[in-house]
């Protein structure tokens, strides 16, 4: 057959009659899904999977390198931190915090934000003006600052991290959903529903909400990664999940004094964050391309 690449290129138009590759954007993002799947399994099965307790200290075994280093051993495949705790166990348990924070926060924020957006877009006028000014004000408040204030006044906790991020994050959903609702309101089927005798509740729940679902799903997926980063940043600053609970952000912070001598303490949790966030973003992009090509700018 054609060994010359030029021949193969020329032959393409004919073979395109039966494409063996789905159009771009439709292909299932297998690698990102695999990464998320692995981390989710890890989080659920943490007690079964992790080789040892993430809290057990052993000062004699502190700062052991990972197994591929010549000084490493299989007792601690990814090495240990400065208190001699097993890195693999801490990363596995840390996925619980990151994923739970990411998912919970985004669900909370999207529920509130979508509700506000639907109401503002549907009623318009003064209701819309008031709700959107509140939204603008919320968006102008830095998440990290609010979380720091909460951490200092109420004390750092998982719950406070979720609340602090959600209290700011809903605004973005409100904006996007309101925009979506405004375009929907112009369409005849909303007018038709009203003429058919549907009340506000019915129109919002049956006609507007289902039509914004695509946008919401895309936004939620894209935001999970963002929330994981914010949570890690808060934990890094000490305003997030309090020690000794393993969280990726605080693990990076703990390792920053030894970056030159024991790089793995900071690097490995950082890598975990990178992989999860990247995977969520790729899935989000894919969802956006498949469900809602209008949303390119998000």
């Amino acid at each position: 057959m054609a060994a010359d690449p030029a021949d193969a290129a020329l032959a393409l138009p004919q073979s395109s009659a039966q494409p063996d590759v789905a159009p771009r954007g439709r292909r299932l993002p297998i690698v990102p899904l695999g990464i998320i799947g692995t981390f989710v399994l890890m989080a659920i099965l943490a007690p079964l999977l992790s080789p040892s307790s993430p809290y057990e200290q052993s000062l004699r075994n502190r700062l052991k390198p990972p197994v591929w280093d010549e000084r490493g051993s299989w007792t601690h495949p990814l090495g240990t931190d400065r208190l001699g705790r097993d890195m693999l166990a801490r990363i596995v348990y840390g996925s619980r915090v990151s994923l739970a924070a990411g998912v919970l926060t985004v669900l909370l924020a999207s529920a509130v934000g979508a509700a506000v957006g639907l109401v503002a877009g549907y009623y318009g006028g003064r209701v819309d003006a008031v709700l959107m000014r509140i939204t603008d004000a919320t968006m102008s408040f830095p998440v990290i600052l609010l979380a720091l204030i909460l951490a200092v006044t109420v004390g750092p906790s998982f719950f406070n991290v979720v609340v602090a991020i959600a209290v700011i994050l809903w605004a973005r959903y409100a904006r996007v959903i309101r925009g979506e609702v405004l375009t929907l309101m112009e369409l005849d089927f909303i007018a038709q529903a009203r003429i058919a005798g549907a009340g506000p509740w019915r129109i919002i729940t049956r006609h507007l909400a289902p039509n914004t679902l695509n946008t919401l799903v895309v936004l939620v997926t894209l935001q999970v990664g963002y929330v994981i980063i914010v949570e890690a940043a808060l934990s890094f600053l000490g305003a997030g999940i309090p020690p000794p609970t393993p969280a990726w952000g605080s693990m990076i912070a703990e390792g920053r004094d030894f970056v030159t001598s024991a790089w793995w303490v900071s690097f490995l949790p950082g890598l975990a964050i990178l992989l999860v966030v990247l995977a969520f973003n790729l899935i989000g992009d894919w969802l956006r391309d498949t469900l809602d090509p209008k949303l390119r700018q998000l």
């Binding site: 089927f189 038709q192 529903a193 009203r194 006609h207």
Partner: protein, 322 residues
């Protein structure tokens, strides 16, 4: 004479804008009897659609407001009803078909779910009875293999099919009054003819009164019994279709009819109406058509002409006939 299904008296709807108040509907009166079709014609902005929305009290608030008048549906004054009562009247007693079939169905639900929603809302049916009723409605609007179409989503249907589904939803109750706001404007001519035939057939069966908004005089001639010509928020001439087409009285109606191109007429250019449609914010004190009228008199600019009968059931607003 029997009581008309709808009786509209001196209806006024104003829209408040930054540039001033638009008198979109300015004292409109008409009535439509059972089984009768009234055509509502006029150029864009003459108040046709606003009149229809006022009948079901769905004018775009808060800018638009129904200022006064009476809308009686089988004797009940709709303008005096509460919003909750209106919700029960809409769809059940007054239904409406809008212009754009492409967007008049909810894209995320199947035809069956949307039609079913209307049927269950009006008749409280469930399960099998609901499906049967929905199928029967699709069959009534001449949709082939209706049972299978219930599972179809709007994007799988053509514009004509979708408009039929909208029609099926409109007659689900069935209503006493059907308002059709340019339902065939975006359909091509053959589908348009079929749809008009369908509306006539449905009207024959259910005997509802119909208000048909259009700016196509050909459609008026085809399906309407009477026609009301609107200009600047007022009805300038109303009467039986035959009379209006044969012996129009108002200069605007005459001009409209002259502007229809005719086959075989030897003319190089189409006849048009000189001038611009009136600025609705600054309507003149007198007749709104005065600035474009060929027979304008001094009085036309000063005083608005009253409605005068030129024959039983044929009235106009023009000083020439007053």
């Amino acid at each position: 004479m029997t009581l008309p299904v709808v009786d509209v008296r001196e209806l006024r709807t104003h829209i408040v804008t930054r540039w001033g108040t638009i008198r979109a509907v300015d004292g409109v009166s008409f009535s439509v009897a059972e089984g009768e079709t009234l055509g509502l014609v006029g150029e864009s902005g003459s108040g046709k659609s606003m009149t229809c929305l006022s009948l079901v009290r769905l004018v775009p608030r808060p800018a638009a407001r129904i200022i006064g008048g009476e809308v009686r549906l089988d004797g009940d004054d709709l303008l005096a009803k509460s919003e909750a009562e209106m919700q029960r009247i809409r769809g059940r007693r007054v239904a409406m078909v809008l212009q754009d079939p492409m967007s008049s169905l909810n894209p995320v639900f199947s035809v069956g779910m949307q039609l079913g929603e209307a049927v269950s809302m009006y008749h409280g049916l469930r399960g099998r009875a609901l499906t049967e009723r929905a199928t029967a409605l699709l069959a009534a609007v001449r949709i082939p293999s209706p049972a299978a179409r219930l599972r179809a989503f709007p994007h799988q249907l053509s514009g004509g099919m979708r408009q039929r589904v909208v029609g099926a939803m409109a007659i689900a109750a069935p209503p006493r009054l059907l308002i059709a706001d340019e339902p065939t404007t975006s359909l091509d001519v053959t589908i348009q003819a079929q749809y008009l035939g369908l509306l006539e057939e449905l009207q024959e069966r259910h005997r509802f009164a119909m208000i048909f908004v259009t700016h196509d005089l050909g459609i008026v001639a085809r399906i309407c019994d009477r026609v009301a010509v609107m200009y600047g928020g007022r009805i300038v001439e109303i009467g039986p279709v035959r009379r209006i087409f044969r012996a129009p009285v108002h200069p605007y109606t005459k001009a409209l009819l002259d502007a229809i191109p005719r086959l075989g007429a030897r003319r190089d250019r189409l006849t048009t109406i000189e001038g611009q449609p009136p600025d609705l914010v600054k309507l003149p004190a007198g007749c709104a058509f005065a600035a474009r009228c060929a027979h304008v008199m001094e009085r036309c600019r000063q005083e608005a002409p009253p409605e005068t009968a030129v024959a039983p059931d044929h009235a106009t607003r023009c000083w020439l006939n007053a």
